[in-house]
Symmetry: C2
Subunit: 211 residues, 2 copies
């Protein structure tokens, strides 16, 4: 399977899932600024929206959208137990994937990360996002994971919380969230993904500066 | 099952799903301004985020987040065939639910609908949203539905496109999207849900004015 990713973008959640499953994958880096892969191919030809992640399955099908990709990858490697397979467990997984995707990723962090987003909107975004993080904080208090064990929802939540420093969102205001983030960062699959993508991010920034 | 809804909000997609399945449900109206049900109960006690939809299942479990609820309801009524049950079909359903939820609902329409969102951000939001609607337009050209038959993703897409008039998003710029919206509006389940929720919306606005 191919994973189209950009360093430290939300595609890192899928890399974490691959590492959790100890599964082979080809990682294809996309420059988010010029929308090209490292070998110069036009990424819009893969995903017309220009967004990562996308995967190309072993059958050659391209799939987009994080919540769908994470569930697909989890289902490909059932031995890794990265997602409940059915019933209320699966429904709760989808609830968290949707919450992270809509309230945190798109609602809070994306407007703060996007350099084209107007400054005037940022206070509004942070205030609204604070209520979402407070909700998450109450939920995570006394829990190790979003579900009863590690799942792709944790891979996604860690990945978006990892944007807090760059966006000035101080997780210390929500102690259970901060504690969760700190614990997750030590998980081997996450530590490995983070170290690798940080190094790639530094290289990407250097290329942008040189261009 | 109970559906907590506000008239014409994204919870309408779940009402449409119930009508498609010809399934009984109790519809509990929530005032989005005061976050109370019509009989005065505190809605934050149901969903601490104050957002609709929420459902209370027949087992008494409360579930939130539209993409999760729509899949749960579809799975409760398999005879209505509102969602592929597995494999790539289900993955594509999740892809569309995620696209609608993140790119259209949260990315485009929510900042335009929210009276607290700053005016300065609205041009940015509309420009970004236009690229998403252009992508959808290319996809829908020559298709009847998002998947190969009507699914809960169509119920959700219709519901968010229905906010276009109130937000000044002129669907005529994307003819296949406009045509899809017009066709869907004539579908019996949707026509019934829309007529009922419009009437409830008018009553809600009258109550707000009188308060």
């Amino acid at each position: 399977m191919d994973l189209y990713f950009s360093p430290l973008a939300c595609s890192m959640a899928t890399r974490i899932a691959f590492y959790e499953a100890d599964a082979a994958a080809r990682f294809v880096e996309v420059d988010p600024k010029i929308k090209r892969t490292r070998d110069g191919a036009d990424y819009y030809a893969i995903n017309p929206l220009g967004l990562v992640p996308a995967i190309r399955t072993d059958d050659g099908e391209v799939m987009t959208e994080n919540a769908a990709i994470l569930q697909y990858v989890a289902d490909c490697f059932p031995g890794a137990d990265l997602a409940p397979t059915s019933g209320m467990g699966r429904a709760r997984l989808q609830q968290w994937l949707c919450f992270i995707g809509t309230e945190l990723h798109k609602g809070l962090f994306m407007p703060l990360l996007d350099p084209k987003a107007p400054e005037a909107g940022k206070t509004y975004t942070q205030d609204k996002g604070a209520s979402r993080l407070a909700y998450l904080d109450r939920y995570l208090a006394g829990r190790d994971y979003l579900l009863d064990r590690f799942s792709v929802a944790d891979a996604y939540l860690f990945t978006v919380l990892n944007w807090s420093t760059a966006t000035g969102v101080d997780l210390a205001r929500w102690p259970a969230v901060k504690d969760y983030y700190t614990r997750m960062r030590q998980r081997p699959s996450i530590a490995k993904a983070l170290a690798e993508e940080r190094a790639l991010y530094v290289q990407q920034q250097a290329r942008h500066k040189a261009a």
